[in-house]
């Protein structure tokens, strides 16, 4: 589904952000990307739907080359759902209109069909009653669930999550993770940048560990948590699991 091969990204020759990153996500797989801050994991996931450019290497999403100038990026992105750290709901639109905008303008769905779809998804994330409110009237956890519903409204073939719970108060993390766990169990292909190791243990098939722009470890969940091969991954795990 996603093929990342030898991706390099730099701002200046001496400031390399991604170094020779190669990995893949197959259909129905849930891959968790973790690592210390500044390790390039958010940058990598943003390269997948071309929100960030990169200088060399290739990324294929469902057979389409992301870094080909001829690729119709809006069309490709409409099939790749993305959830951001800071939700990025559109504050001037009601919740239901947040879900309908791209359905209507990008997919060309008629308004009533888009609304029906939107309401179904809001019900699924438990926020049907909030449809007529504005984003700022919702809590952070609720906003992030709306953001997930908004991405799902486009019927994506894969979902990207960029630290979806890092900006949330602790008591709201689980309501968002619950939605993500359900999604994973339904067979959605997911690439998730997160520090939530509990989530990784529960639903991940593979864990990628990044440090200083490199993929240091790319292993099955059991291998990663059982016996990480690299020193850096061991140190990282011992630090975040010690509490």
């Amino acid at each position: 589904m996603i093929e990342i091969s030898h991706v390099n990204k730099w701002y200046t020759p001496s400031f390399q952000v991604l170094t020779d990153c190669t990995t893949s996500v197959t259909k129905g797989e849930v891959v968790v990307v973790c690592g210390p801050s500044g390790s390039g994991k958010s940058t990598l996931i943003k390269c997948v739907n071309a929100l960030e450019p990169f200088q060399s290497g290739d990324i294929l999403v469902d057979g389409t080359k992301v870094n080909d100038p001829k690729t119709n990026l809006p069309k490709l992105r409409s099939r790749v759902g993305m959830v951001f750290q800071h939700f990025e709901l559109f504050p001037h639109l009601k919740i239901i209109d947040n879900l309908c905008l791209a359905q209507e303008k990008v997919l060309g769905r008629p308004r009533d069909k888009a609304q029906t779809k939107g309401m179904q998804l809001l019900e699924r994330v438990g926020l049907k009653e909030q449809a007529q409110k504005f984003p700022a009237q919702l809590s952070g956890g609720q906003q992030q669930r709306v953001a997930i519903a908004r991405a799902l409204a486009m019927d994506p073939i894969v979902m990207l999550f960029d630290e979806p719970t890092s900006a949330l108060d602790p008591e709201m993390v689980s309501e968002v993770l619950d939605v993500m766990v359900d999604l994973a169990r339904e067979g959605m292909t997911m690439m998730v940048v997160t520090h939530e190791m509990g989530f990784a243990r529960k639903v991940a098939n593979r864990v990628i560990f990044m440090d200083r722009g490199e993929i240091v470890e790319d292993a099955s969940k059991d291998d990663f948590f059982g016996k990480p091969r690299s020193d850096r991954a061991q140190k990282f795990l011992s630090k975040i699991l010690s509490h």
Binding site: L76, E88, L89, F90, L101, A102, V106, L107, F134, A136
Partner: protein
Amino acid sequence: MFANLDFDVIRRALPYLFYEGMTFTLTLTGLAALGGLIFGTALALMRLSGFKILGRIAGIYVDFMRSLPLVLVIFWFYFLVPYIGQWVTGASRPISVGAFASSLITFIMFEAAYFSEIMRAGIQSISRGQPAAASALGLTYAQSMRYVVLPQAFRNMLPVLITQTIVLFQDTSLVYVLSITDFLGAASKVAQRDGRLVEMYLFAAIVYFTISCVASYGVRRLQARIAIIR
């Protein structure tokens, strides 16, 4: 002090002042604000676009316009355009541009420079995550601007835009250099004719003051109503 003043001159001049003068002033203000907004948005988008040349052209234009006194632009434009028109079209004599058309074009060009700076600030006030989220949903650059960035930017800058329009409303009185009968021009003519300078200029000041004050108050009310809940 007011013993010698004849306020009846104002009452007698009212139809002329408002039907001729104020109609012109409001028409010019409205059309210039509309045109300036459209042209100004285009300039702002040019400056924010990735194309360096477009940005430079818009930048030079804005700096140029903002470095000249409005009254000079009005004056020069009125006297130069017929000759530029002649040169462009190759006509045998200077083409005639009416005083209204000339002043309208001048105000649109001048206000666009100010509006574009307001628009630019407004667009830049939207966090980068918003267009990113719009792109991630598959919206094109134009759609993301139209449905996500500009609606929010407009709400943020509407108070400043209207305030600038109030300034424009007052600035339209500068068309007196072209001997156009706007509100102040009409008042001035009556004042000269009847020798009632104090009364007429006092009255004109009160009218400008009242309209501008009411508009400012309206802006504050509007601001409270349309502000995005944050």
